[in-house]
Amino acid sequence: MASEPQRQPGTAHALLRCFSYLRPYSRLTAGVYITMLAIVGLTVVMPQFIRWIVDTGIGGRDTQLLGGSVAALLGLTVLKGVLTFFQGRWAETASQGVAYDLRNALHQQLLTLSFSYHDRSETGQLLSRALQDVERIRFLTGRAFLRLVEAAVLLVGTAAALVAMSPTLALLALGTMPLLAYRALAFGRKFRPISRAIQNQLAVLTTRLEQNLRGARVVKAFAQEEAEIERFDQANERWFTLSATGARLQAINMPLLDLIANIGTVFIIWYGGLLVIRGQLTVGELVAFSTYMGQLVQPVRRLGMIIPAVAEAGAAADRVFEILDATPEVRDAPDAVPLPPVRGHVRFEGVSFAYFGRHHVLRDITFEALPGQVIALLGATGSGKSTIINLIPRFYDPTAGRITIDGYDLRKVTLASLRDQISIVLQETTLFATTVRENIAFGRPDASQEEIEEAARLAQAHDFIQELPNGYDTEVGERGVTLSGGQKQRIAIARALLKDPRILILDDATASVDTQTEHQIQLALRELMRGRTSFVIAQRLSTLRSADLILVLERGRIVARGTHSELLRTSGLYAEIYARQLRPQEEAPSPRRLVPDRQEAKR
């Protein structure tokens, strides 16, 4: 869990902004506060009936008034109950509406934000913004603020009623309230950091456990069970120590609040009793006094929980609005035009790119891909291969230079029309937790069953899909069937094929699969590249041999370019990679005789 940032100057503004989300629910909210006033009014009036009952009904032996008052009390309680129901329901509806709107807005914003944003953010963080932080805001705009106002109004109303009966006793009885509020707040302030520490420690404990379980094989292979137990015990004991501290704090303070509230009761019995004896107060008023005090204790005690929650909601709001206010780095220009269907002529003109404006990963990249050509990218991890392919669908914008497709500058066309004509198939495949069919049709939800099956066949996926429990309707992912890496990859290829893109981006690696599956995936990839401009992160000799242009990258620059045979002659680096890594692949019995090399075939 991230440490809670200190409250920033903008927090008050953020709190106000939270309430602006209540605007669509202004009628409900008005209803909530009106019913609240009515409920408080009833709460202040009802003890007066008890006073009349005791003084007049019982003391004055007026049975009629007694019966009337009891009936009135019951009637008022019903009324109060009905009001309470509507107040609760309206407040809940409005605040759940706020949460719903905020979550939708966050989701929409995350869809809009570009890759550079998602590179920087962690899934867990974003989830906690959208869930816990929004929940805190919801609590604030719903019950928290309502209770705050209610407590204030109730305090004023009660004080008025008490003073009307006996100013001095009112002073004595209410005198404990500031102390109660203060202790409740002080306890909240003290307990919160500990409760957070306990939560964090539990998270540490859970992580330890999770790591141990996921790494069970490694733990056993290295015979480190004892060390693991020791580490877990440490975290576990620390959790216990923190929890015991928290428990002590709670044990001392929670009953203390009751004790303080009870001091008021002692005053009422003692001083109130004295007043009755002196004839300055009636017994009914004494009973009413006590009832009033009882009604006040809960709302005031609750302030101890609500006020810190408001502060926390402020911090939460800061974090949520930070996401909502982020500007997507890549977005449609105001005058963007749709990219017409392209032939696939891609040009990089002096393109440089730096992540977060500092870390240069590409420098002055210039090359050209003619329609239908295969461009192979070769280089070590971090040489800039992935960045080049990420620039083509405009996941990022270059920091310098420009990229054109069929002469259109990418920054002058709409994102949707551009990405519609590009497909990407990478080794690490993301499938969604839905049916196989929907996964394949992901880019074209309107595709017919025939088209989907055709794509699957070309991707060598049709056969295994048919063997799944429900064929194309089989659910995949957590709730459904677990697919192997090779199966996922072929579904991703089918997904890309169905989109029928003009431009294709892929890597030719196969997830760790056996030889048979690998063979099928390579067949599928070949099918996919046919007739499209393709950019391939190359790891295979076959790809390099067949490429129209190989770009050898090192530290963000193109250090060599050409075809396979040209590069063998001209590039030392390429020759070295070839000698160490690629040539061993070549020493197969007689690959070239089995299938002719594309370039040889051309000659």
């Binding site: 003890p47 008890i50 019982i58 008052s69 009891v70 309680t77 109060k80 109950g81 309470t84 609760g88 759940q96 509406g97 949460a99 939708n104 998602h118 869930l131 404990l205 456990l209 379980l213 069970a216 094989r217 056993k220 290295f222 015979a223 693991e228 576990n236 428990a247 709670q250 001392i252 929670m254 009953p255 509230a261 009761t265 009755v276 004494l286 009832t291 809960q298 280089g379 070590a380 991890t381 669908p393 996941f395 590009i422 497909s423 993301t430 969604f432 429990p469 192997s484 090779g486 760790s512 699969v513 030889t515 048979q516 690998e518 076959s542 990679i577 160490r580 890594q581 692949q585 089995l594």
Partner: protein, 643 residues
């Protein structure tokens, strides 16, 4: 502490009410066997528990006394005008409140302390047990499920053990106490007031049932929101690449609004329940006022009794509400307890024999002598985690099965290795090749004794692995896999994993040998760089290099390589091959290979198919033979050579 009216429900507030009633588990609330075994965990703490009980009784008794003191104050002193007596009563009341404070503070602390102590002990015990369980358990059980046993189920048990039992005793006594006091003060009025009780019970019962369902619903909806959002965030690149933002937003909107509606629905229930409880409280008060008031007017009852009755009535409902929550707590605790005990009862499949000796320093001769292996159905089920039969079958086989296309294991015992014999001489490298699911991983799992052979024997340096302790055996083995698991902690911590006492200099040395030093130094904090969850800040190649360094430092005699170079770029692959060559030198190694180009130098290549070794020999021998191996080899190079 007042004789207020109609606030009995205010203590919890709607949210509290839901949480209290809304526990997930349904089922029996009482199982003597489970309770007995769970109570055993409390035994070491019985003096504290007893003290807590005594304190609770004191607090409850004093709580019952205060309305009585008020009655005395009114009847004996206020009405009669006795100022001195009134002061005494006021002081007595104050003393009572202080006594309540001390007793309840002590009781709360003791109970919480015991509860958390038991919780920590139980978690420690579970963790120890998990370390003892063999890999079979870990292969079969989803990590999240086991975590939930250790974290959540244990907490639920604690709720019952530390709070629940005392609440049960305390509340029951308070309830009986109130009934007795009221009956003794005014039997007639008391009986009339008790008429409200059945209504209260009915309302609470009705509510608790519905709230459980409604609250379970809200939890499912929240989970759906989390699930959808998490998936969208991790698949964000695909969504944007395919320009499917609209569809994604629509889907999220659906789960999001379902979540909103479920919450409003559930909360509305408590907005009905709480006012109803308040009304019943007022009804009881009304009975007291109406009948009691007339009695007072007729001088059949004192005013003090009437006021005391009003106070007792409000206090009446609390224990009933708490007892109804307790029922839910008990249901949850029984279910949780059963699962936790089941986990504790799971026997490790692989155990050290009594009197197992230490494995002497290994020379490195590995022998599989007519080894067969079958997964046993009974052992699957002892694992305890309830799961779909389909998943169970899928997971039943070791890792190999997870990659298998369309492969599904059946639930009855089935053999995955048949009569495998193999001798590896010290220092040799043996490669296992073959399709997924053939049994390659099973062979190495048996050599490391992660599983026990069904028939035959595995011997190292002539010693049956079953005759030595697991620890002494595995200390001399190392493992490098294609997707190596790194723990959170620093890079140095990870390299040090097998030898926690290794000095920094040794770590750097092995990192150099493993070709990892250079990239580690390029990391933001060098060796002190934290490995993030899932090691996302390292590439697969870097993870592999670190795991090679980790194995080097452990200096094993026998090495298991699970194809360490599956999916990295050519340059990194060269680094890895180079590092592996150094790691393998002078050690016995068993390599599970997918890419045939990497194993040509192996001393022996075994082709595994259908749980048998179908071909064995060196690379050249096997190529000459023209069998399965040659077929595999040619196909791989067709892919590489063709366009």
């Amino acid at each position: 502490m007042s004789f207020s009216i109609g606030t009995s429900g205010a203590d919890m507030g709607p949210r509290g009410a839901l949480h209290r009633f809304g526990d997930q588990s349904e089922g029996r609330a009482f199982d003597r066997q489970i309770i007995t075994r769970l109570l055993a965990f409390l035994r070491p703490h019985w003096p504290r528990m007893l003290a807590a009980l005594v304190l609770m009784l004191i607090a409850s008794g004093l709580t019952l006394a205060t309305p009585y003191l008020v009655k005395v104050a009114i009847d004996q002193h206020i009405v009669r005008g006795e100022v001195d007596g009134l002061t005494t009563i006021a002081l007595l009341t104050a003393a009572t409140f202080v006594g309540i404070y001390l007793a309840s503070a002590g009781q709360r602390y003791l109970l919480a302390w015991v509860g958390q102590r038991v919780l920590a002990t139980l978690r420690g015990q579970l963790f120890r047990h998990l370390q003892a369980l063999s890999l079979g358990y870990h292969d079969r059980n989803i990590v999240g499920v086991t975590i939930s046993r250790v974290i959540n189920d244990v907490a639920v048990i604690n709720d019952l053990l530390s709070q629940g039992l005392i609440v049960l005793i305390g509340d029951t006594l308070v309830l009986v106490g109130i009934v007795v006091v009221m009956l003794s003060m005014s039997p007639g009025l008391a009986l009339l007031t008790f008429l409200v009780l059945p209504l209260m019970l009915l309302v609470t019962w009705l509510f608790a049932r519905r709230a459980r369902v409604a609250f379970r619903q809200t939890r499912a909806r929240v989970a759906a929101v989390v699930g959808d959002l998490a998936e969208d965030i991790s698949g964000m690149r695909v969504i944007q690449a395919f320009a499917q933002e609209g569809v994604s937003q629509e889907r999220f909107d659906r789960v999001n609004s379902a979540n909103r509606d479920a919450h409003i629905q559930a909360m509305s229930l408590s907005f009905i329940y709480l006012p109803t409880v308040e009304f019943l409280g007022m009804l009881a008060t009304g009975i007291v006022l109406w009948f009691g008031g007339q009695a007072v007017a007729a001088d059949e009852l004192t005013l003090g009794v009437l006021v005391a009755f009003m106070a007792y009535v409000t206090r009446f409902f609390q224990p009933i509400q708490e007892l109804s929550q307790l029922y839910t707590t008990m249901q949850a605790a029984m279910a949780g307890g059963e699962r936790v005990l089941q986990l504790l009862d799971t026997e490790p499949q692989v155990q050290d024999r009594p009197g197992a000796r230490e494995m002497p320093p290994i020379v490195g001769r590995v022998e599989l002598d007519h080894v067969s292996f079958a997964y046993d159905r009974a052992e699957h089920q002892s694992a305890g985690a309830p799961r779909a039969p389909e998943q169970n079958g899928n997971r039943a086989a070791p890792e190999d099965a997870q990659h298998t296309d369309g492969h599904r294991a059946t639930d009855h015992p089935y053999y995955v290795l048949h009569d495998v014999s193999l001798v590896i001489e010290p220092g040799q490298t043996v490669a296992l090749v073959g399709p997924t699911g053939a049994g390659k991983t099973t062979i190495v799992n048996l050599i490391a004794r992660f599983y026990e052979v069904s028939e035959g024997a595995v011997r190292i340096d002539g010693i049956d692995v079953r005759d030595v302790t697991q620890r002494s055996l595995r200390r001399q083995m190392g493992l490098v896999s294609q997707d190596p698991f790194l723990f959170s902690g620093t890079v140095a911590d990870n390299i040090r994993f097998g030898r926690p006492d290794a000095p920094d200099s040794a770590i750097e040395e092995v990192a150099r040998l493993a070709n990892a030093h250079q990239f580690i130094m390029d990391l933001p904090d060098g060796y002190a760089t934290e490995v993030l969850e899932g090691a996302v800040n390292l590439s697969i190649g870097q993870r592999q290099l670190i795991s090679i360094a980790r194995a080097m430092l452990a200096d094993p005699r026998i090495l298991i390589l699970d194809e360490a170079t599956a999916s990295v770029d050519s340059v990194t692959e060269a680094l890895i091959q180079d590092a592996l060559a150094r790691l393998l030198a002078g050690r016995t190694a068993i390599v599970i290979a997918h890419r045939l180009s990497t194993i040509r130098e192996a001393d022996l290549i075994c082709v595994v198919r259908g749980g048998r070794i179908v071909e064995r020999g060196t690379h050249e021998e096997l190529l000459r033979r023209g069998g399965v191996y040659r077929g595999l080899y040619e196909r791989q190079f067709v892919d590489d050579g063709a366009a």
